[in-house]
């Protein structure tokens, strides 16, 4: 592929608002997971909740978009002057030449869950103040941000479960290569809600402890929430030293099971191979793999096999979900931003809070931070329905 540049990027999750706090947490090997006290949820589990989301106000003329998911989006675009970078790009290219491609799995469905408790006892009708289009519908987060930032190019939400916001990079790249746009706002936003908390609980996939990816005692995920964004443009001929580029994207389907990965990771392997081929790179060119690494026994086993089959057992890997929680539809973008921070700061983030790596998993899992002059990082995102996406980010040189 023709490389793209991340002109600007930012992330907000339970380990920090914006890049500086996020990097500090990674350097300190800190997890942001805490006992679940979210809303009225009575589950014995840990979550990665972002503090202060509900204090965030939206502009009055966009009140119909008011919900936790869009508040989180608003909070996040205010970090790292990201909203200003987007405005500058819109000035540079024209607002019709900027696309908006965002990933989410549940958007503002919390609004509907709460509205169902407030149904009219007689008619069963939802309350008058419930706005479906601006909150519940998957497109709401893209529609909110395109209005908030005044963007008029093509826009869509990619909703492929937990691969959603990795796949938005592919959507933006195709639109750019087809000549329909010159720049794109990409990213992912997913916020805590009852559907995912009780849903993953019903599948017995939630850990009571903070999730421990690749640990011998791993027993499930911890759900988190995040908003992470990047402004993508075509890479210049000679990128600067600190510039972070998208070098390759690979997508595949397991075609195996709705809620379980292929046991040998065949789909994951194909996504990683496709990303390498897209970037024109050999496996040895990858210095670090940010794993999907959810912390369920089967997911990690499947991914470890896939990684080892492509890279062998010596490429350093870790999952940052023990720090951030599994942020579902936002995970791809959040982990792309974490990968960009890793590249810029020459650090492989340790996969906390994993204590004892499962000896049957052959991928080289790092528990502690390691300094390394990273040039290229691969980030994996896989989702329900067997949908897979791998991104390769890199620096010049």
């Amino acid at each position: 592929m023709n490389p793209l540049i991340l002109t600007s990027f930012t992330a907000t999750s339970c380990i920090g608002r914006g890049l500086a706090q996020t990097l500090d947490s990674l350097l300190a090997e800190r997890s942001g997971l805490s006992l679940c006290k979210f809303e009225t949820v009575d589950l014995d589990t840990r979550v990665g909740e972002v503090e202060g989301v509900d204090d965030q106000r939206l502009p009055a003329h966009l009140a119909r978009f008011d919900c936790r998911n869009n508040r989180l989006a608003e909070l996040a675009i205010r970090q790292d002057e990201f909203d200003r970078s987007v405005a500058e790009a819109a000035d540079r290219w024209g607002r019709r030449r900027l696309g908006v491609f965002l990933g989410t799995s549940t958007a503002g469905i919390l609004q509907t869950e709460v509205a169902y408790r407030r149904r009219d006892p007689g008619s069963g009708a939802l309350p008058a103040d419930f706005h479906y289009a601006g909150t519940h519908n998957s497109f709401s987060v893209a529609d909110y941000l395109r209005r908030r930032l005044g963007l008029e190019g093509p826009a869509a939400v990619v909703s492929c479960a937990c691969a959603s916001s990795a796949k938005v990079f592919a959507a933006a790249r195709r639109m750019m290569e087809a000549g329909l746009i010159d720049a794109a706002l990409v990213g992912g936003v997913d916020s805590l809600c009852l559907t995912t908390l009780y849903g993953f609980h019903s599948l017995q996939l939630c850990s009571r402890a903070p999730c421990r990816p690749f640990d011998v005692a791993r027993d499930g995920i911890s759900i988190g929430e995040a908003a992470a964004f990047a402004l993508l443009e075509r890479a210049p001929e000679e990128p600067g030293r600190d510039d972070v580029l998208v070098l390759g994207i690979g997508e595949s389907n397991d075609a195996y099971h709705m809620s379980a990965p292929h046991p040998e990771g065949h789909g994951a392997r194909r996504a990683m191979q496709a990303a390498l081929s897209d970037a024109g790179l050999e496996p040895a060119a990858i210095d670090y793999i940010n794993l999907h690494g959810t912390g369920t026994p089967s997911n990690d086993r499947s991914e470890s096999q896939a990684v080892t089959s492509v890279f062998g057992p010596t490429t350093p890997c870790s999952s940052t979900k023990g720090a951030t929680g599994h942020t579902l539809g936002a995970a791809g973008a959040l982990e792309a931003v974490i990968s960009a921070l890793a590249l810029r700061n020459g650090i492989i983030p340790g996969g906390v809070p994993t204590a004892n790596v499962d000896p049957t998993l052959t991928a080289l899992y790092l528990k502690k931070n390691r300094k390394a002059p990273l040039q290229r990082v691969l980030s994996n995102s896989f989702g329900f329905g067997g949908t897979n996406c791998s991104l390769i980010l890199g620096r010049n040189g």
Binding site: Y116, P154, A170, R174, A178, E251, N253, S259
Partner: protein, 265 residues
């Protein structure tokens, strides 16, 4: 800048429409439109245990995808796909929200797994063994336009055939009052980068400020505006007519999509 592809197969299902050959007669004006509730076939692609479990949205998507692939004579397992829907499985969503509003908050694991927006794409890939990339979009009322742009951009950039499926089904009450979609409507195209012996028509699309083309039949026009996937109807009508022409399809509030249609000889 424009993006283009050949259409090698069409799948079509909606209120009063059971398949593309019959819909073509109606859209071309050779037979009258007779509105009737959409009949969604049991998905024979799926194993018997799963046929009962999947909702209307999966039945609809699988039906139109199967029809388009069969007409094009291509193996579904080889095709990349773009799915686009404004809302996923409304009945399943209602059952989850209803259960979460009760004291016990017990939701079924199958319901939860089926609640993802990419459920239809997942069932399709599992049933057909399709491992190439697939993506699933939502753009509210602009979902058909978003799917068409994504699909044509993919075919233009990657030069590989692809299956586009746009589909919507209704919510039950009380969500239906907030998002009134009257019935199921789905359309599917097999798109190829180069003309084949089976190519039906060539389409070339670009973003346009021009105003949209409504349909002259008031009942078809009412269908077009009430179901997001039915925003495709002016394009389908032009294809049904079998003559070259340009149609403007509704997309976002700030732009529409102009499509040039040229039938293959």
């Amino acid at each position: 800048m424009s993006i283009a592809a050949y259409i090698d197969g069409i799948g079509f299902l909606g209120p009063g429409f059971s398949d593309w050959p019959r819909a073509r007669e109606v859209l071309a004006g050779r037979r009258p439109y007779e509105p009737a509730p959409a009949v969604l076939p049991v998905p024979s692609l799926l194993p018997p245990t799963e046929r009962r479990r999947v909702g209307r949205v999966v039945r609809l998507a699988l039906a139109v995808a199967s029809e388009a692939a069969a007409q094009a004579g291509v193996a579904p397992a080889e095709l990349k796909s773009v799915f686009s829907s404004s809302g996923g499985d409304g009945h399943n969503c209602h059952e989850i929200c209803r259960a979460l509003a009760e004291e016990s908050r017990e939701i079924s694991p199958t319901r939860f797994a089926n609640s993802v927006h990419n459920a239809a794409a997942g069932y399709w890939s599992i049933a057909t063994g399709a491992t190439p990339a697939s993506t699933v979009l939502c753009a509210y009322d602009a979902s058909f336009g978003a799917g068409l742009l994504e699909a044509l951009a993919q075919v233009t950039v990657d030069q590989e055939p692809l299956l586009l499926i746009a589909y919507d089904t209704e919510y039950p009450e009380p969500l239906n009052s907030k998002r009134p979609i009257p019935d199921a409507f789905g359309v599917s195209f097999v798109l190829t980068p180069r003309q084949t012996t089976g190519s039906l028509t060539r389409i070339e699309a670009k973003l346009a400020g021009a105003s949209i083309d409504p349909l002259t039949d008031p009942r078809l026009e009412s269908l077009r505006v009430s179901i997001p996937a039915a925003r495709s109807l002016p394009l389908l009508r032009q294809i049904a007519l079998g003559s070259p022409g340009c149609v403007v399809l509704e997309y976002l509030d700030v732009s529409n999509i102009s499509v040039q249609v040229v039938p293959c000889a």
